[in-house]
């Protein structure tokens, strides 16, 4: 996306990510817009699967275990003493995206977004990445087309 506010402020508390990564674009436009009587609607099959995958993550034992782990990991004493600037730094990371957040409770959606967005910084010569059908990197199945 190319739109940016001319008045984009730096250093404020409100995060204003430039919606220029594939992940942000997907989030904004996938399945959106007016549906017309098209004779065919092509879709980014792999990407749609990833999104659906993220949406169906609901409260489950696995979710609870992740919450438990995060709760147990809390160091309440240290937390009180932690320098707030450091916290903000941790969370904002470079470029102010929340994908840098180092929490066990990163939503599934975020993990997925990271998985999709991974190839973003690389050169786009090969468009293998967006066809990758799963967020689990272990199964990077190759297809020659």
């Amino acid at each position: 996306m190319t739109t940016q506010t001319s008045g984009r402020r730096q250093g404020g508390y409100l995060e204003r990510p430039a919606p220029s990564s594939l992940a942000d674009v997907i989030e904004v436009i996938l399945d959106k817009g007016m549906v017309i009587d098209a004779y065919v609607r092509v879709s980014l099959v792999g990407i749609e699967l990833l999104t659906i995958d993220a949406r169906i993550v609901i409260a489950s034992v696995d979710t609870y275990l992740r919450f438990a782990e995060a709760t147990n990991r809390l160091d309440l004493y240290e937390h009180g003493a932690k320098d707030i600037g450091e916290v903000v730094q941790d969370l904002r990371g470079s470029g102010g995206t929340e994908s840098k957040t180092r929490g066990a409770l990163r939503g599934a959606k975020d993990s997925v977004k990271e998985a999709i967005g991974k190839g973003d910084d690389e050169d786009d010569e090969s468009d293998q990445d967006e066809r990758r059908p799963t967020k689990r990197s272990s199964s990077s199945r190759r297809r020659s087309e």
Binding site: M1, T2, T3, G7, G12, Y13, L14, E15, R16, P17, L22, V25, I26, E27, V28, I29, D31, K32, G33, M34, V35, I36, D37, A38, Y39, V40, R41, V42, S43, L44, V57, I58, A59, V61, T63, Y64, L65, F67, A68, E69, A70, T71, N72, L74, L76, H79, I84, V87, V88, E98, T101, G103, A104, L105, R106, G107, G119, D127, E130, R131
Partner: protein, 248 residues
């Protein structure tokens, strides 16, 4: 439905008012040729050519996004769902512009001067969990009991702890979502609140008068500053009004 892109076709990006022509000069369709406008009375559909066998990829998606958002900068646009192909320009008239003329004109009028933004609020993990531990004796107790145990022990307690914590965070999120919405609402013309889970507090897309955007930003900046030790607020946009044209 055919399996897609076996013949040359046109990809529809969106519909704008016919005056003035608004297609970005350097924008190209999937076939690499300049975009075209298909005119019908006071409507214009912006379309790009598609070669036989076309399969959309990342670049097409990014380009679609920048083209539609580019159109939005010059005036109201009704984005058409990505990947919508029609056989040729005549079909764009026959199947979209002519039958939908009234609805399209009404939408364009309604969208004039407005932009879409997405606002998301999310907890700082350690901060909200510390609140939960402090507020709930049972959570505190379960935490003490399972904290130093090896992973394979205390499974039931762990699940119970996680369940309590997850629900407590969700309850807080519901309340805090209202706080954020109270700040947002006075500045938006329409809103769609999306479901959230995990550490997310609120995910809302809103239609905002372009001139009100700065006021909304200021209000959110003040809230983000006041609440920054426990939540992060982000605002994405302005973009074209993808969520406010009767799509899914």
């Amino acid at each position: 439905m055919t399996s897609g892109g076996e013949e040359a076709a046109v990809l529809v990006y969106g519909v704008v008012g016919a005056h003035p022509p608004a297609v970005p000069e350097d924008a190209v369709g999937p076939d690499g040729a300049a975009l075209r406008q298909v005119m019908f009375h006071d409507l214009a559909a912006v379309v790009g050519g598609v070669m036989p066998g076309w399969r959309p990829g990342r670049e097409d998606l990014m380009r679609y996004s920048s083209i539609v958002d580019g159109l939005a900068q010059h005036g109201p646009v009704v984005p058409v769902q990505f990947g919508s192909l029609l056989a040729d320009e005549q079909e764009v008239v026959d199947r979209v512009l002519a039958p939908e003329a009234e609805r399209l004109s009404a939408l364009l009028e309604e969208l004039a001067g407005k932009v879409q933004v997405q606002i998301r609020a999310r907890y700082v993990e350690d901060a909200v969990l510390a609140e939960v531990v402090a507020a709930d004796p049972e959570v505190r107790d379960l935490r003490e009991r399972t904290k130093d145990l090896p992973d394979e022990v205390g499974h039931a307690d762990r699940i119970r702890l996680g369940e309590l914590a997850a629900h407590a965070v969700a309850d807080r999120a519901a309340e805090d979502a209202d706080t954020v919405l109270d700040v947002v609402r006075p500045h938006v013309a329409a809103e769609i609140v999306r479901p959230v889970g995990g550490l997310d507090i609120l995910d809302v897309v809103a239609l905002v008068e372009a001139e009100e955007l700065r006021v909304l930003e200021d209000a959110l900046e003040a809230l983000a500053e006041a609440a920054h030790d426990r939540m992060r607020i982000r605002l994405v946009g302005p973009t074209a009004p993808y969520d406010f044209v009767g799509g899914d």
